[in-house]
Amino acid sequence: MVNEVLFWVVAVLTVPPALSLLFARKAAHIAMSIVLVMVGLAAAYVGLDAPFLGVVQIVVYTGAVMMMFLFVLMLVGVDRREDLRETITGQRWIALFAAGGLALLLVSVVGRVTIEPAPRGVVGNPEEIAMVLFGEYVLVMEVLGALLITAAVGALVMTHTPRLTPRRTQSELQAARVLAGADPVNKPMPGVFARHNALDAPALDPEGRPIEHSVSRVLEARDQMSEGTDFRARLENTRNPEDYQRPSGAPSHDADDRKGRREGRDEEGAQ
């Protein structure tokens, strides 16, 4: 009875998350779903009198393998959305036919077989597995150890990139930043020296114009930044407009200038 419940729990715990492999758009979501599948499988192992494997499953898959997947996902960009449109002609139909056919075939074959399980013995405890592993299969264990070391070294070799250019010093980086048109000095803090000290309010330059990039990029992306026009209108009402004429030769704050600033910011991010 307990086993029966456990099976259905496992089935519900594994199949729907596994289906996310086919339908979810974000790789991070899929990875988390698979973690769930792995945990479900660990439970199944326990239910199948293999508690040692259940533990190993949790440790190796959930703890190590899937975490490594997530780690790599972060490396290559976690916010990448995958385009699910198919590019290869007929690939979707072939895949559905093949996978569905395989499922049908296996289920129909396996489903018609009824094997009474052997009466439950004492198998499954870690000690007995250890006896088998380090007795009968000790050589295989050694070879597997060698395999793991080889794989680790291989991964190191493959991900290692030798430095081809000399390391850039801080002064060089700064020079490059200025050459790219970025601000030579620190970015202004938002709002602090103007009338508003809220984070969403841009700082004002000495002429009273708003400096948009003083506001956090996140707020800008969320459209939560206060519009600079408000301040400008308020200023124009209180001051003589003549004062706002920009002296000739002063640095431009126009759109192309902002582009340079954004590149400077990217440069900063790359550091």
């Binding site: 290869i88 690939q91 395989l102 075939l105």
Partner: protein, 626 residues
Amino acid sequence: MLSVTWLLIAVPLVSAFVLLLAGRRADAYGHWVGVGASASAFVVGLIAFVQMLGLPGEERATSVHLSSWIPGTELNLDAGLLVDPLSMTFVLLITFVGTLIHIYSVAYMEHDPDRRRFFAYLNMFVAAMLLLVLADSFLLLFVGWEGVGLASYLLIGFWNQRNEYATAANKAFIANRIGDIGLIVAMGLMFSTFGAVDFATVFDAAPQATAAQLTAIGLMLLLAACGKSAQFPLQSWLGDAMAGPTPVSALIHAATMVTAGVYLIVRSAPIFNGAPDAQVVVALVGAVTLILGALIGMAKDDLKKALAASTMSQIGYMMLAAGLGPIGYAFAIFHLVTHGFFKAGMFLGAGSVMHAMNDQVNMRRFGALRGAMVVTWVTFGLGWLAILGLPPFSGFYSKDKIIEAAFVGEGWQPWVLGGAALVGAGLTAFYMSRLFFMTFHGKARWTDDQHPHESPLLMTVPMIILAVGSAFLGLILASGDRFTHWLEPVTGHVEHHEPVLPVPVLIGATLVLVIAGVALAWLKYGGRDVALEAPTGSLAAITARNDFFQDSVNRAALQRPGQHLTRTLVYLDATVVDGAVNKQARGWAGLGEASRRLQNGQVRSYAATMLVGLVIVALIIVVGGR
């Protein structure tokens, strides 16, 4: 002494190689080496000749074994030389006339930068011809035969910087190749019939062979002779062969090359004796060629080409005589010898004229050279008288005998062959007189830059010697049938046959025709002005001037069909043979192209393939396992 006959061949051959290999450092004395080689060959030949004279007639044929050549069970052939009166005649003719031509060439080629090479080729020519006449088997003869062809090719194309000269050399070579095929086939037939290709075995066995076999061999030999001797229908190369330096022409026409065909026929007498049909064909070919050559000679304005046509015609006489069988063999060789002298003399005279006239060969630009070149005029005149066949000059004795012999026989043959020979004599008289009068008599029609002068002694002396020979050799050799007796061991003794017409009548008719021809030529060319440009003339004249359109005929009859054949073969090769291969290749390529689409580079497609394969395998296991 006879055992060193091989020196005859070896000396000029070694000299040729030395001259060729020595290079420029031998330029200063190379020509004298060449002359010396030829002259020493003549001396060796002369000694052998004297020695042979001391022997009784039937012992005069000697075989000189040189070495084993092709040892085998089926065909066992030794290289050896056959020295008998016939080959000795040729040896003397070749070396004597050849030496004179060598001497002449020293002066004639004096300003040619390649004179040493020229003499090397001349020596090679002589050596090859000597090998040809001295060989004791058809195969060794063939070696000399090819050597003659090679040397003639090199000499005709000696000035190959001029394209048409090189073409003429090619033409001669290719025409000779056709004849060579005849000789090769004849040798094959001999081998299959007699199992041997050496003279002794073949000639001993010839009487036992059937007439058909002998006829086949004989016709093939005739084809070979036609190629080498420029007989109809392979005559076309001879006129163009005038591209070579004039001494070469003299050598080709008098001593070597064209006489080889006659030699082959006479040498193969035992075969032809058993094949009357082949003999008739030989005689007819000779008759046709002699008329043809005479007609061409009448129309040519080119001094050398007219002489070449005359050679063709005279060789026609010899072939005619050779085709008559035993009664003609000796006369053919007799005429060959006298012709060798007077034709060589005339060619050297022609060379002397060209030498004087800035290499001009157009007779319409000559005239009145008699005064300027007395020696040439006299020597050429003696040659002219000899070829006319006027007594007591050489030509009379040899040619008249041929005419007489041609009239011997039954049925249509004497009338046709004899008539041709008779008419040919008249035609010869006309065109040779025309040539002679146009060149040496009449008014001077020289171009402004021509200042005729007599040639140096080195050139005139050989001409004088040859002229003396032309004048008196016939008389000497004919008196008491000396020459016929000399050749008897080879050609066999023949009882005298009466011609269908009485001999005095024939002699009279011949002389009348000759004198008529000379008179006509004098009337037309001697006494009157000769136009500088050749008149358009009748259709016959145009035909003759164009060598009876031999080149066009060859082109239409041989070259075009050959081209069509090869083109068809190429087309078949391209479409059928290559087509099949290409189609197959294209099929495989298409298969590859089709399977290439499977290899689209998409990893997921490969994965799909794998999975589909897995499903299929699983399905087979499930369904099949049941």
